[in-house]
Amino acid sequence: MLKIWRTKLGYLGQETWRGLRRGGWMNWAAISTVTVLLFLFGISLQTSWQVSGLLNQLGSQLEVSVYLEPGLSGQVMRPTVLQFPEVASVEVIEKDEAWKSLLQDLGQTDIEGATEGLGQNPLVDELKVNARSAAQVPQLAQKLARVRGVDGVEYLDEALKNLIEINRGFSRLSIVVIGLLTLTAIAVITTTIRLIVISRHQEIEVMQLVGATKMWIYLPFILQGVTFGIIGAAISWGFLSGIRQFIYRLLTDQPNFLKVVSDGLRLSNSQLILLPLILLGFGSLVGLVGSLFAVRRFALR
């Protein structure tokens, strides 16, 4: 019994291998289409990761300016503000500092004179508050505005909201695109395997006539489909990594203006491990489903 099983497994491996070896051009059709599709899928996934990374990066640079009531000290308010869970860091800008730098900007050096002219320093203490993530900024601002001693709150409201909107839109779009791509990938691999099945229909007919079971006949095709998926995943992963490296290099040559962007585009370690695994899983799933579809019509008769 064991021996028969070993013979059968041997046969399956051999047949799959033989199918691949003799398939020649056909294999490349299948593999190249799977590669193209997994590549698109990978780009889409990676871009979606990168855009959220980029948004977080940009968001963490967005700060809420909190203007205190006149006479209140920033240093005193700082611990209160730091207690909010959304707050990452707080920088205090005292009104004297701010006034000095303002006057300097205006080309004025006689600070005491100017202050006297106005009667007093017209500014108030300000806290620059960084949120932990871009999405939290609007609520944080609302909360801060309600704190006692806070006169006013300012942040890049419009811009941020729009960035978040865009990100949400992009996520939806990429779900749609990935869905469509999955269907396309399955359709293409189904077509390819079916092409191969059709091109061997003579063989298959003969096999059935000499008493081979459907399983025996079609399993090599299914394994072949899965192999296509796996090879396609490997190649597209290679491409993706290559292109990512290329873009990194392009960006690191740039001056520090793009530092933020470049950091946002970088994938985390877990994403770097996840990407090939997802591609592999997706590739073999597509190969499996595609080849099952391809042989179903024939095998279920």
């Binding site: 041997g10 003969v206 079971t213």
Partner: protein, 250 residues
């Protein structure tokens, strides 16, 4: 309709008491192809284990159709085809596959797989039955030698002459030691010497208890074999004895 000639062979419309004692049994089988309106009409046939039958008739009479009904490539419109007690017309999937493994078929158009070598073509029958590799090796050589193709084992079908392909097809049919051998025009592309050689192989297998059905146009072969002959004409099966068949212009 003439009387049955051989005790192992009967043509009768009435049902029998013990149907499974026949290797092949056709009861009132009708098969008409919709497209051409040709085929077989009300065919009754019983073959005991170990019998030997020639089927003859003009081109397009329905000989191949009879074979296809027995190995389950066509299903009857009416009636029943029983092989080893199984109704072939209703078998499907793995059960049909299992039945076919007990059959050896020489197809009229050989049906060799073009991309496989001759030995792969023949070994496949054994492989698909899960026969271990060394056992396959052991059986392959003698079978190839039997049909005179030992030197063509590694050739592909299109590297063989017509007659060699036909002999390869015969080798594939007999390599699995089937219980029932169906040979559709197995000597059409063979010279007389090779044809007689094939006949003697089939006769030997028959002597081992294998049931053999051969369709042929070769009167000489029928004369030599002295076996029962069924003649299909206009889709109907008639029994003739061997001498009568040979003297007719079938």
């Amino acid at each position: 309709m003439p009387e049955p000639i051989d005790p192992s062979l009967q043509i009768s419309p009435q049902p029998t008491l013990n149907p499974s004692s026949y290797t092949v049994q056709l009861r009132g089988v009708t098969k008409i192809y919709p497209k051409t309106k040709f085929g077989l009409v009300d065919v009754n046939l019983r073959l005991k284990q170990g019998s030997f039958l020639f089927v003859t008739g003009p081109s397009g009479a329905g000989k191949t159709t009879l074979m296809k009904l027995i190995y389950g490539a066509e299903r009857p419109d009416h009636g029943e085809v029983l092989v080893a007690g199984n109704s072939v017309g209703v078998l499907r999937g793995n059960r049909l596959s299992h039945l076919r493994r007990q059959l050896g078929v020489v197809f009229q158009d050989y049906k060799l797989i073009p991309r496989w070598t001759i030995s792969e073509n023949i070994a496949f029958v054994l492989k698909s039955q899960g026969v271990p590799r060394d056992e396959i090796e052991r059986r392959l050589r003698p079978t190839l030698k039997l049909v005179g193709l030992q030197k063509r084992a590694e050739c592909f079908p299109d590297q063989l002459s017509g007659g060699e392909q036909q002999r390869a097809s015969i080798a594939r049919a007999i390599v699995g030691s089937p219980k029932l051998l169906l040979a559709d025009e197995p000597t059409g592309n063979l010279d007389q010497e090779n044809a007689l050689q094939v006949l003697s192989i089939l006769t030997k297998l028959n002597n081992l208890g294998i049931t053999v059905v051969i369709t042929t146009h070769d009167m000489h072969l029928i004369q030599v074999a002295q076996a029962p002959v069924a003649r299909i004409y206009n889709g109907r099966l008639h029994m003739v004895n061997a001498e009568q068949a040979a003297s007719e212009r079938v």
